[in-house]
Amino acid sequence: MNQYFNNICTTLYSIAEGMAVTASYLFRRPCTIQYPNKLEKPMEDQLSERYRGILQVDTRVCIGCRICEKTCPVDCIAISLEKDKETKERFLTRFDIDISKCMFCGLCSENCKTSAIYHTKFFNAVTQNVENLVVRFVDKPIALYKPPKGSDLKNTLKDLSGAIVNQKMKGRAL
């Protein structure tokens, strides 16, 4: 009998406690980020510095070592190099990244000696056609970068906004 009334009291009390918690949330700030229309600040500022977004290649500083191609677990990077037989100069003729395959693991950018390949904060890779997600960074052969001796390789400039990828994908989608 004691148990019977005890049950009723604890049930009503615990329900009231739960109601007090939910009622307090009516006065507390919601945590929603209203993406994409009502952002308080642009998405790029909300993401952290180390965010691993879509890959981008700065072909000006690529030394053509192909480490990224080899370390990629899903083989989404394809690189072709050609050598001018006369001048012995090597050219980058193809640097494609298949973003639909990429799993954003960061192994390629970590191993890149000159930070030529790096993650941007750009993540919105929506297109009408899957083929648009293959980003080709080389339009015409580019001479490979020769780093000056003794220089700090990691200290090259980065275009972190992802403008190049953005432009390339948009250009293809249109």
Partner: protein
């Protein structure tokens, strides 16, 4: 040909009069992923429930045989998407054991911090989803909100929110700075009172207790015999934690309790014990993170490891305490740069084996509570 050979592997049930077969899943809302249960019921009372796994098999073990040691890490994220850090951890530990690599101490501390944060995130989903299965949707959303804070911290540490790929063979990929440590402290200060609030909202709610207490009791003997691990085993009152028994990484330097089920609101080993052990473990994880942050030494975060790592013929079994219990990897090398064989042992798979025994005589609603309290994750069952 193959079809007839494999026929005996399909679950076979025999029904009697008044019984009916109910197919629960793979599109059922509370089977936690693609899981199928063949349920023989009489009205709402279950006579037999057979789990039918294999809908999410992706052959990750086979993939490992074709991938170099150092580049397999991103695949391990996909074993258990809710607790990716543990799969990372056990894999790099296995490779380090095999190749005799010494890991800097700072890296080990960073691993512990990341793992414990991930354990909190995983338990948040587990306990919240159980409440959602029971019918209360608010706790789940509150927990998702807290998990989002952890995701933000993880993003600032390693750059990803779910599939971290944080660990490397011989260390970790990124260091934490003052700013991130401060963020973690702030989060913990915010999170610990919220656990109490959560308990007031749902854990101590009488309806919730009545739904979970004395339901699907797993006795300690059964828990051991069926190979349950982690919080499911501890919920049955057996104090078994790989962090304590094997003490991998730097876990021996921290002072923490191992919560075990005591029959908090019902009898030992019921759904509520398994649930509440997880809630208590979150508090313990908070204390481990605080200790790790205060004790963290300065130094390197990564040992020098060849990019093309070759390991001579050897074998090892390494395990860690994942959010879902013991996660082990058996690694067999043959001198090349990729493993000869990788076998993954996960907690969810063993947890599925006990469903058939425990579920007899439960109701359909209890079966959902049981699955929720076992905290199974479909990709971890099938790998």
């Amino acid at each position: 040909m193959l079809k007839t050979e494999l026929k005996h592997l399909k679950p076979q049930v025999h029904t009697f009069k008044e019984e009916m077969i109910l197919n629960m899943g793979p599109q059922h809302p509370s089977t936690h992923g693609v899981l199928n249960f063949l349920v023989v019921t009489d009205g709402e009372v279950i006579h037999q429930a057979l789990p039918n796994v294999g809908y999410l098999h992706r052959g990750i073990e086979k993939l490992a045989e074709q991938t170099p040691y150092t580049t397999f890490i991103p695949f391990t994220d996909r074993i258990d998407y809710l607790a990716a850090m543990f799969a990372n951890h056990v894999y790099v530990l296995a490779v380090e054991n095999l190749a005799d690599i010494e890991v800097p101490e700072r890296a080990q501390f960073l691993r512990v911090i990341a793992c414990e944060l991930n354990r909190i995130a995983s338990h948040l989903i587990s306990t919240g989803a159980l409440a959602l299965d029971i019918g209360a949707s608010t706790p789940f959303v509150h927990w998702i909100r807290e998990r989002e804070c952890i995701n933000d911290i993880m993003e600032s540490i390693c750059g990803a929110r779910l599939t971290y790929s944080y660990m490397r063979v011989g260390g970790v990929s990124q260091d934490i700075n003052e700013q991130i440590a401060d963020d973690i402290y702030k989060f913990l200060d915010h999170f610990e009172p919220i656990i109490d609030e959560y308990n007031r909202l749902i854990s101590f709610n009488e309806i919730f207790i009545k739904r979970l207490a004395n339901v699907a009791i797993i006795s300690p003997v059964d828990a051991v015999n069926f190979g349950l691990v982690g919080p499911n085993l501890r919920g049955s009152g057996i104090e078994m934690d790989i962090r304590r028994t094997i003490s991998y990484s730097v876990y021996d330097q921290f002072d923490f309790n191992i919560p075990i089920g005591k029959g908090f609101k019902g009898s030992l080993g019921d759904c509520y014990d398994r649930y509440f052990v997880r809630v208590l473990e979150m508090t313990e994880s908070c204390s481990i993170i605080r200790q790790a942050l205060s004790q963290i030494p300065k130094g390197d975060i990564k040992a020098k490891v060849k990019r093309k790592l070759k390991i001579k013929e050897n074998e090892c079994y390494t395990c860690v305490e994942s959010a879902r219990g013991e996660m082990g990897m058996y690694l067999l090398s043959d001198g090349s740069d990729r493993p000869y064989r990788l076998k993954i042992k996960t907690g969810s798979f063993t947890a599925m084996s006990i469903v058939e025994k425990v579920s007899q005589g439960l109701m359909v609603a209890d079966l959902i509570a049981l699955i929720g309290s076992l905290d199974v994750v479909a990709p971890e069952i099938d790998r």
